[in-house]
Homo-oligomer: 252 residues x 2
Amino acid sequence: AVGEVYLVGAGPGDPELLTFKALRLMQQADVVIYDRLVSPQVLDLCRRDADLIYVGKERDNHSVPQHGINALLVAHARQGRRVVRLKGGDPFIFGRGGEEIEELRAAGIPFQVVPGITAASACSTYAGIPLTHREYAQSVKFVTGQLKNRTSDLNFSELVHPNQTIVFYMGLHTLDHLCRGLIEHGKPESTPVAIVSQGTSPQQRVLTGTLSDIVALQQVAQLPAPAVVIVGEVVELQSRLSWFGKAEGSQA
Amino acid sequence: AVGEVYLVGAGPGDPELLTFKALRLMQQADVVIYDRLVSPQVLDLCRRDADLIYVGKERDNHSVPQHGINALLVAHARQGRRVVRLKGGDPFIFGRGGEEIEELRAAGIPFQVVPGITAASACSTYAGIPLTHREYAQSVKFVTGQLKNRTSDLNFSELVHPNQTIVFYMGLHTLDHLCRGLIEHGKPESTPVAIVSQGTSPQQRVLTGTLSDIVALQQVAQLPAPAVVIVGEVVELQSRLSWFGKAEGSQA
């Protein structure tokens, strides 16, 4: 009999932010295929005798390409195994989950998808930055800051509207490009910016500044990836509302 | 001694989508102050002897106004109690969590915030609609479709850019206004739209159409609130990728 594939969001790293559904499926899995950003603490919660298969990280030359991952999922399910495909964050927000289940669907393999707490939500919460706020931002937008492998460049003109919060995923390596692009397209230089590095982990660090100075501040602070970059007036609340760990930054 | 307030995201309704951290704090709470969209199945998981206080729903005349909720949180914490403020979805995405913790901060009351799976993520996952996809949408935006109590009207010009997914929270009552506004500002009439009603519950229903026909389809189907409205090319994937419950719609 054919197996089944569970596409599971592992959340941002803190194992307490796993959902009950994620843990239940992880403990039923015969094989777990995981990639970058799944924390060791989360992996530890998989069934003891499950096969764990690492398929690499996007910026890593040793990673398995997407079509190889798709083929792995199909092959293991065809052997009748219960497969958990474990992804950091949420499978449907920059997780390429859609591509994986299209392949499963084409192969006639049953699947389920379990949402996870996405990085934008977890990192902003643990940093004390509400993504929406009646006075500052009536909408929030998630954008990938990674430029390679993209079919089109960023459309900055859609990112400079006022009263919205922008969260860049994987924006640390292109921070200079992002800030310059936003300023050139009319976003005020004084717009507040926060970098949340290793969000929700004991190593979480938050750096705040503005579009005009965050690049220089990060050159000194050297916060490591993974990180999200949050742009918008809501970042001003961070110095008052932070509650987890300790914050550092220009307004401290 | 002063108590503590935990602002906890209860997720979209399915109790299996609660996080471990949410459940742990719910089981420690002396008092739970909850509002609209917290499902009965989730409430059942609170400590048996906790006081449960309902503070109403936004469209309900009998609800407690926001400043009254803020005052309740402060008053209970000042009595030395552990207070869980339980919200549907995520506290920092259209949850007014920022306003509540500003009040706690001003009153010197310790707090923590626990992110929850937000409706956009949960409903799209359970409907089989990836929010981002390399071929269709490189960004996703969350907007509130509710117009009363808003400081400004919707800025449609920021919502019509191609290659993005838009999710309207509470957009069912303003569906006609939203579709007309998007079309008038240049979004193609053929843009796919999905309504996900009572997402993640056994009563979940999905209705799909386009900007030009979804209003008429909904007049017939009469899907009930709560619902999210998803606009963008990714909705086309729904007929192939749905896996939870059954879907209905114009392309069925």
